[in-house]
């Protein structure tokens, strides 16, 4: 079900974080034993076996939109650029790039001597082909939108590629992190029939070996990788749909890497034996969960009511109860610690008294003594809808229900199957309030979620948030490349959101990966732990698998 998680501006290759979704726990003593005592020099060898909840769907990045496919494609394919461990943009297949003074033209200077896994040379023609593939109306891809902003794309020479935009677009550069496809294998082929969907050929650090559907996918180190061959010789994805089974298999030694649930992290891994064999990590995921108010509903049109609801909800209690402490209070749409995050905004600590005062100011009083506030004979009652299959959201809803009843707000909770939930409730705007989450967005451009032009059926501003100033700030933020200027726009945007409370931001969950202790070289960073995967190694005397 996790692949159903709502998405915001994400690319298959950058999805590594999102798949480690199964969040959280509370023992923080042994978390960062990443130093791991004595380490021998890095040596090549050994296999990393990763537990994956779902099989990949297709290994052609342009068609794939699920997490597992994204992970594997991320190891097999490269983009022109990528995020480094601190989430700054760095070159991958592009050695460097120039941005024209008017921010409209990007010129990429590509690495020389890079070869596809089948030996063919990588050139700018491959980049141009990938662009054409993305915007081809016959390609059933979900990624076309951003590339349709490109006015012209051209190959200047074998290793120089240039794109021109009609309007400056801040996310233009990182959009070229999209995996580059091999032209010599795909040109003239009907893309949905391409054999590459089950046998990918990329330029990345790992080469595809085998795929037994529903069972496992095997990759091996690419000895010709342009950054030098990775140390870990093989990567094996094993498909184990049930998290309890996956955990048992990890304990029995059949897995080296998996994402834990908060319960597993907190309660089931705190034994000396487990700590000796595995290392646990936790860091905030690129995701947050919120309670969104449908602003078309009269009761939510008064800002004081929304503020009161935010004061009446104890977010820390939700984190402790639902995530067992593995999360932090969300105060806005950006991850705490990321460059766009503004920590200085108005906060809403748990304060039922203030909630009551604000509600009274807005005219809500319990005039008939039934314990529910009312105004002009209308009780302050609404229904929260959320989707089936996400226990965290349902539990959060129950906690919210209780807290709001304490300040005299009557809340019903409805849980609906995902497709019906979107079709009958969210898309037509037919709901009072909803608990949902956004995940995956590293760039702060959230135009599609908050701009007033995006309130149509099926669009993402389904709570119908209209704010002329926000519209203008979001427009400004996506049209400049200057990070300082963008930060100013987004800081102000976050202040308005904090004041207006169209969402009550609930929590940022944590990713809780666990890795077998023999793996060294792991460096937790803002980007997670997989950012330097090619530099992970196992000291020769501890290597477990020889083939």
């Amino acid at each position: 079900m996790n692949s159903l998680n709502n998405r915001i501006g994400l690319f298959a290759g950058l999805l590594v974080l999102c798949c480690l979704w199964l969040v959280c726990g509370c023992d923080r003593r042994d978390d960062n034993l990443a130093g791991q005592g004595k380490t021998g020099p890095p040596t090549a060898g050994d296999t990393l076996i990763i537990g994956s909840g779902a099989d990949a769907v297709t290994l052609l990045p342009v068609l794939a939109s699920d997490g597992t496919s994204g992970d594997i494609n991320g190891l097999v394919y490269d983009g022109l650029v990528r995020y480094d461990k601190d989430l700054n943009i760095e070159g991958e297949l592009a050695e460097r790039w120039d941005i024209s003074p008017d921010n409209l033209t990007l010129t990429f200077h590509l690495r020389q001597g890079v070869r596809w896994h089948d030996g063919a040379p990588f050139t700018a023609e491959d980049v141009l082909f990938t662009y054409r593939l993305l915007v081809d109306p016959n390609t059933p891809t979900a990624y076309a939108e951003r590339y349709r902003q490109v006015a012209t794309a051209e190959v200047l020479d074998a290793h120089t590629f240039r794109v021109r935009y009609l309007k400056p677009l801040a996310t233009a550069l990182i959009s070229w992190a999209f995996p580059i496809h091999p032209r010599h294998l795909l040109e003239g082929v009907e893309i949905i029939k391409s054999p590459l969907a089950s046998h990918p050929v990329g330029t990345g650090p790992y080469r595809f070996v085998a795929w037994q559907r529903g069972e496992k996918i095997v990759l091996e180190a690419n000895p010709d990788y342009f950054e030098g061959p990775p140390y870990i010789q093989r990567v094996l994805y094993r498909v184990i749909p049930d998290p309890s089974t996956m955990f048992l298999e990890m304990q029995s030694g059949g897995l080296d890497y998996m994402g834990l649930t908060p319960l597993q992290y907190a309660m089931q891994t705190d034994t000396p034996a487990f700590r000796r064999r595995f290392r646990k990590y936790h860091y905030p995921a690129f995701a947050y969960t919120y309670l969104g108010y449908n602003l078309r509903r009269p009761i939510f049109q008064d800002k004081r009511v929304r503020q009161a609801l935010s004061f009446a909800i104890d977010k820390q209690e939700i984190i402790d109860g639902v995530l067992l402490g593995f999360g932090q209070v969300a105060r806005g749409p950006y991850k705490p610690g990321s460059w766009a995050h503004n920590p200085e905004v108005q906060q809403y600590p748990y304060d039922p008294q203030r909630a009551r005062t604000l509600l009274a100011e807005a005219g809500w009083q319990d005039s008939d003594g039934d314990g529910v506030l009312d105004r002009n004979g209308q009780p302050l009652a609404f229904t929260i809808v959320t989707n089936q299959g996400n226990d965290q959201r349902i539990k959060a809803g129950e906690i919210i229900q209780r807290r709001l009843s304490e300040v005299g707000v009557k809340v019903k909770l409805r849980v609906i199957e995902w497709a019906a939930f979107l079709k009958e409730f969210i898309n037509p705007g037919n709901f009072d309030a909803t608990i949902l989450g956004w995940s995956g967005g590293i760039d702060p451009d959230v135009y599609n979620v908050w701009h007033s032009s995006k309130t149509g059926p099926g669009e993402l501003n389904f709570i119908a948030f209209h704010n002329a100033e926000v519209d203008q700030l979001l427009e400004a933020g996506r049209r400049t490349f200057d990070q300082g200027e963008r930060k100013r726009a987004y800081d102000q945007f976050q202040e308005i959101l904090a004041e207006e409370q169209p969402y009550t931001f609930l929590y940022v969950p944590e990713s809780l990966p666990v890795v077998a202790a023999r793996f060294r070289g792991i460096e937790p960073a803002p980007a997670g732990i997989m950012h330097n995967f090619t530099r992970w190694y196992v000291p020769a005397e501890e290597q477990k698998y020889s083939r």
Partner: protein, 324 residues
């Protein structure tokens, strides 16, 4: 016999058409579409792109046109291509999952028969004995035990703590490097827990059924006659009573034919076995219409054929039916 068979086969055609039509309409009634996973709540997708994707799957056409197209392919025995992003033929997807599911189901039905039939006979013959009561409790415990719970318990104790059995999948990681006999042993080793768990819950129904049949038969006059002839008790039970008591079993076996291709989602999920149950479940969740319809058609055909086989088997086994 032959005209009867022919009539039955002919009648299956409109029945099958009706089944497919109803299934097709019903699965399209459920909200959601195959393109939703790619396009819903995805800021990268515009309304126009959504329309284009829908058109690629023919979803923009009236339901009856879609059904007509699907039926046209089916007549040529083509189940079409899956709507999931890999767009592989439905037959290929089913073919790679079917052997595992059939293997496990055959083994587990076999195990159920081997265990439940003797239990049923003995319980009937020694009605209300300690054995009868004990096995009754045992099979009902089996019936009432949630299979996922039993599976996890066995995996934890026998798999993790004692390391006796592998807990995930049907093959070891080194399977490809094993010799031929090593592979057979490896697979058998992996099959022990799943087959045991899936058979455990089925014991109750079958053994109670067998017991009731046997009790029914033992009361008949011809058993009294057999005993009066002075036959040994063994001969009475094994030759005269058992044969007659087994007749209804044919019906049950006939009815389990479609069950052979149906797996259990929960069970396959827990043991990480890529079988039909998970395939169908994922297909439904993704609204992969061709895949859903493909599995439903196979299931419907097998149900009809199973019923026919049961009737024929009955006729072959029981002269009373054959002659009437």
């Amino acid at each position: 016999m032959l005209p009867y068979l022919f009539k039955r086969l002919l009648l299956m055609v409109p029945l099958l058409l009706g089944i497919t039509l109803i299934s097709f309409v019903v699965i399209h009634l459920a909200p959601g579409e195959p393109t939703d996973l790619q396009t819903q709540l995805n800021p990268e997708v515009s309304a126009e792109l959504q329309q284009r994707l829908r058109a690629q799957y023919d979803l923009d056409q009236p339901l009856m046109v879609q059904y007509g197209k699907w039926l046209g392919r089916l007549v040529r025995l083509d189940f079409g291509d899956s709507f999931s992003q890999d767009r592989r033929p439905v037959t290929a997807k089913i073919a790679e999952r079917l052997p595992v599911t059939i293997l496990i189901n055959v083994l587990s039905i076999g195990l159920i028969l081997v265990v439940a039939v003797p239990i049923g006979i003995l319980s009937a013959v020694r009605r209300n004995s300690h054995f009868d009561r004990l096995t009754t409790v045992f099979v009902f415990v089996g019936f009432a035990t949630p299979s996922f719970w039993l599976a996890l318990l066995l995996m934890d104790v026998l798999g993790v703590r004692y390391g006796l059995f592998p807990i995930v999948g049907l093959k070891s990681l080194g399977y490809d490097y094993l010799s031929w006999s090593g592979r057979v042993f490896d697979m058998a080793h992996h099959l022990v827990l799943p087959v045991f768990v899936s058979a455990f819950g089925g014991l109750a129904g079958f053994s109670r059924y067998m017991r009731a049949n046997m009790l029914e038969v033992i009361r008949q006059d011809y058993i009294l006659t057999a005993r009066a002839k002075g036959l040994t008790e063994k001969a009475v039970i094994c030759k005269h009573a058992l044969r007659n008591a087994l007749l209804p079993v044919i019906t049950i076996l006939g009815l389990s034919v479609p069950g052979l291709i149906g797996g259990s989602v929960i069970f396959e999920t827990i043991f990480a076995i890529p079988g039909m149950g998970k395939l169908f479940y994922d297909g439904v969740m993704m609204r992969d219409y061709p895949l859903i319809m493909g599995i439903l058609v196979i299931g419907a055909v097998l149900t009809l054929v199973g019923n026919l086989l049961a009737d024929l088997g009955y006729a072959l086994a029981d002269p009373r039916i054959r002659h009437s």
